[in-house]
């Protein structure tokens, strides 16, 4: 439904995104993830036909965003990050205006606007001036204008930013309910949001795609091992040795001490191999007190941190490599 190929956007000398490629299948909700300033909004603005790319191509709903912009625009709903709305308009007339501009036929418009207001829980606010609405309601009006024409593709730029926890839950539920009939790409830097809403994820950092795919697969790819956290009251050295000796364990690291005799360890084993039983047996045999034993779930957050941190250290390494020849020369001169 969305195909992005080698998309590049430069603002003068600044490269916002370079060589970005990804695809989103119909009916999928994909999270577009990245730290602030990574190029999420730029990519979404190009997909929404707000501005053209410097290079590469993007197709939305089968049409090229640059050459067939009108066709694309008829099939998308867009919510920019800042949720720009006309403060001097009232909610219902505003949505009616959007529906009309987006080509909802006159006969269907009234019902469509009413449906969308119900769905976004803003029916009570329909007579209010938009500028008097709270942030949460503005966000919902923004979402309502995106879906009012029932578009095939929704492009939502940070749809839950700045909301209180309850509103976040409501908006998420709303977005989740859009899956299936709509293809959704939503950007965020809140990771649990992606795990909750999205089937797939595209991670972007410094203007380039660093990982993409289904969340489970990414987690597996970046964390091939399963981890168990153990807290034992007993001799540290013996415990470390004992844990290492368990079959299937690929690594044990001491992660801290809680008091004199209490040690914490993180035990890594091959994925799919559960070593908790053996750890218990070991502790029982040695008469150590097992205070805690729990499986550590690998989260998207850790994947993300690893990728972004990895990128950063790579960048530093390449900088160091560039500096190195110079250092070698001065060394030789001595």
């Amino acid at each position: 439904m969305i195909e992005v190929q080698n998309l590049t956007k430069r603002y003068g000398p600044v490269t916002a995104i370079s060589d970005v490629s990804f695809t989103v299948a119909p009916g999928e909700i994909v999270g577009f993830l990245g730290p602030n300033g990574a190029g999420k909004s730029t990519t979404m603005r190009i997909l929404a036909c707000f501005m053209p790319a410097t290079g590469g191509s993007a197709r939305v709903a089968g049409y090229d965003v640059f050459r067939e912009s009108m066709e694309v625009r008829r099939r998308i709903g867009y919510l920019p990050e800042s949720v720009p709305l006309y403060g001097d308009m009232r909610v219902a007339p505003y949505l009616d205006f959007v529906a009309e501009v987006k080509g909802v036929p006159r006969s269907a418009r009234k019902k469509r606007v009413a449906d969308v207001m119900d769905r976004c829980l803003i029916a009570d606010m329909q007579g209010r001036l938009i500028r008097n609405l709270s942030k949460g309601y503005r966000q919902r009006v923004g979402l309502a204008q995106a879906i009012v024409s029932d578009p095939a593709v929704l492009i939502l730029d940070e749809p839950t930013i700045g909301l209180d926890p309850q509103q976040i839950t409501e908006i998420r539920a709303l977005i989740k309910s859009l899956a299936g009939e709509h293809t959704v790409i939503l950007s965020t830097h809140i990771l649990p949001e992606v795990s909750m809403l999205c089937s797939g994820v595209v991670i972007i950092n410094r203007g380039a795609i660093v990982a993409q795919g289904p969340i489970d697969r990414l987690v597996e790819e970046f964390f091939p091992t399963a981890r168990v956290e153990v807290e034992i009251a007993g001799p540290a050295a013996a415990a470390l040795e004992g844990l290492r000796a368990i079959a299937g364990v690929v690594g044990v690291a001491e992660s801290g001490a809680a008091g004199d005799e209490v040690r914490r360890f993180v035990v890594e084993s091959a994925r799919g191999r559960d070593v908790r039983g053996e750890i218990f047996q070991l502790a029982a045999q040695q008469k150590w007190t097992l205070l805690e034993l729990r499986r550590v779930g690998m989260t998207l957050e850790e994947v993300f941190m690893r990728i972004v941190a990895g990128e950063e250290s790579q960048a530093e390494a390449s900088q160091a490599a560039e500096a190195a020849p110079g250092a070698a020369v001065t060394e030789a001169a001595r």
Binding site: L85, Y86, V101, G103
Partner: protein, 255 residues
């Protein structure tokens, strides 16, 4: 082309904010003052003529009331019409709503025309309000309607040009005040540019004269419909609208 919804939206925004009411009120108030002053002056002059007939050979409603009234209205419009157009693009840009507007399935041209025609409609309402003055005149005296018609056509064309220039300037900035002041500056400069005509070398002097609004403004009120003047206003309007379209396009490319 989906001009209609854009037009409706702009008109709605004019009348939900106080701008339209204030501009209408101030315009009618000021033109009312001018009308009373000019008409009172005309009445007194007529009385003097009644006592001293040979003085009054040139006294007529068209020259003594209509021309000064329309002249003064033009000056007021020069300062008020930039306030009508200042919001149109600057506010969309400041609040970011332009990002949504330009991703809806409407062409930039339709957005432009919708906004422009909405401004023209408000201006039409302003002019319609002043039709009370000729109506009053007609009650007291015999009025030549042809100069009135051409005079109002002239005002309409001039206002159309002011609005187009204002729309263009509004598309260049995020700040409504800047848009209004720059538009006023440009219009005022165009108004008085012919004053320089005598002081520059010959071909340029003629150009300056032709560029000046003054040179094209008074003929309509005399009842003369000169294609040269009509084309001046239409050309300027078309140029300003074309530049606005280009400016919208340029903004897209620059993000």
């Amino acid at each position: 082309m989906r001009i209609w919804p854009i037009y409706k939206k702009e008109l709605r925004l004019y009348f939900t904010s106080p701008v339209a009411y204030i501009v209408l009120t101030i315009f009618l108030f000021l033109t009312g003052i001018f009308f009373s002053a000019i008409f009172s002056g005309f009445t007194r002059a007529s009385m003097q003529v009644a006592m001293n007939p040979q003085m009054g050979r040139d006294l007529n409603v068209t020259d003594s009331v209509l021309r000064p009234l329309l002249g003064n209205m033009s000056i007021i419009l020069l300062f008020l019409l930039p306030l009508v157009t200042m919001r149109l693009f600057a506010e969309e840009r400041r609040s970011g709503t332009i990002e949504l507007l330009l991703t809806y399935p409407v062409r930039d041209g339709a957005v432009l025309i919708g906004k422009y025609v909405a401004a023209l409609t408000l201006y039409g309402a302003m002019l319609a309000g002043t039709l009370a003055f000729p109506a009053m005149l007609a009650y007291f005296t015999r009025v030549e309607w042809a100069p009135f018609a051409t005079g109002y056509l002239g005002l309409l064309l001039m206002g159309a040009m002011f609005l187009a220039v204002g729309l263009f300037i509004s598309s260049l900035t995020e700040n409504q005040i800047v848009a209004a002041i720059v538009t006023m500056g440009i219009l005022l400069a165009l108004w008085i540019v012919s004053w320089m005509a005598d002081f520059v070398p010959s071909p340029y002097g003629a150009v300056l004269t032709h560029l000046s609004i003054i040179e094209h403004n008074d003929t309509f009120a005399k009842g003369v419909l000169d294609t040269k003047d009509v084309i001046y206003y239409l050309d300027f309007t078309a140029l300003a609208l074309f530049l606005t379209l280009r400016s919208l396009e340029a903004r897209r490319w620059n993000g």
